[in-house]
Symmetry: C2
Subunit: 198 residues, 2 copies
Amino acid sequence: MAQSNLRREQIYGVAGALFSKRGYHATSVRDIAKQLNIQGGSLYAHIASKEDVLWEIIQRAASEFLGGVAPIASYGLPASERLRLMIRAHVEIVTHHLDDATVFFHEWRFLSTERERIVASQRDRYEACFRKVIEDGIRAGEFREVDAKLAALMTLSSVNMVYQWYKPDGPLSAEQVADGYTDLIINGLSAADTGGNP
Amino acid sequence: MAQSNLRREQIYGVAGALFSKRGYHATSVRDIAKQLNIQGGSLYAHIASKEDVLWEIIQRAASEFLGGVAPIASYGLPASERLRLMIRAHVEIVTHHLDDATVFFHEWRFLSTERERIVASQRDRYEACFRKVIEDGIRAGEFREVDAKLAALMTLSSVNMVYQWYKPDGPLSAEQVADGYTDLIINGLSAADTGGNP
DNA sequence: CGCTTCACCTAACAAGCGTTAGTTTTAGTG
DNA sequence: CACTAAAACTAACGCTTGTTAGGTGAAGCG
């Protein structure tokens, strides 16, 4: 048995970095242990299994997204404004938790069947938030009559993939990425030839 | 030594399906062999190594994209028309070679360092084609003055991720996906308040 | 028929995997 | 100082990994 949360947090941190860089199956528990200057078996004083570590990392990312972004969908604001805030919050999470987000998007397939199902339902719920806001915008006349499901998928594809190319010390800040994407996406959803505010 | 291309093609096919579903490291050579009703070691009469199989699959996908989409960037057409054709061709490749595309996008990290570098440069070249077309469109006044790099990344993110959710027997055809995305993306790039053709 | 070539087999290899049991070291507390 | 509990160690377990060596049966061909 063990109870030092500090050590366990270190394990999640190191594992997140390694899972993110090499992938879950290409990372051994001995690799994780080596970075903490302990033996592979010693990890099991703090964790129950390698998969539990993956699960914890993925669930932390999931609750960042669901806790930080989904509620915005219910704000009492115009749809375009809600969408803007959601994109910004999402990009902020991806860029500030780059390793965890990478593991979340890339390695969920290696969870057990039941856990994979949970992640799938979380992803569906999240996607539904974006779809709902877009549908709201269409109904309110803010957006064109596009396929809301397709538009939500495109939006999420764009902001998810940020983890694949974003470099914290690169030329673009998280804010700049969010602003650029928001502009392109919302403009894409808006009416083209009928001027909005003259 | 071996020379039957038929068997080798079967290996690429089975490996592509398995790498796509379970990932490279979670698929053993014995898994691949089992689907062909032969023993694991027998594969090595037709292939040199497991990594070579991954390399072949990835290179086939890469030349589909580079050979089928990149040339469109140089057509003598308006930028918006070229972009439309490129998106359509790309989506068509992803949906018609779903397994290979999935492996290409997901498993390139497990190639050797030199091979990974080659893939990276192919990806860069591909990305540059999209950026170029968008820059052309801005210069020609077809598109707004957006960040072309960001717009190219968003476009590619959207069309790449199609492999993650597209179901061949789902409600949407490849064409419908391409059309929907083209509409959203090109409208996003176009001027919002200044009507295009009066 | 004799010979070669191919595609497969069996069996093994060295290495690595996740995980466990039992033991020792370390740190904190009365 | 004695006692406890946490956190590390060593050593092994059974299993899987990619890959190789050597052998076998069938097909093709002079």
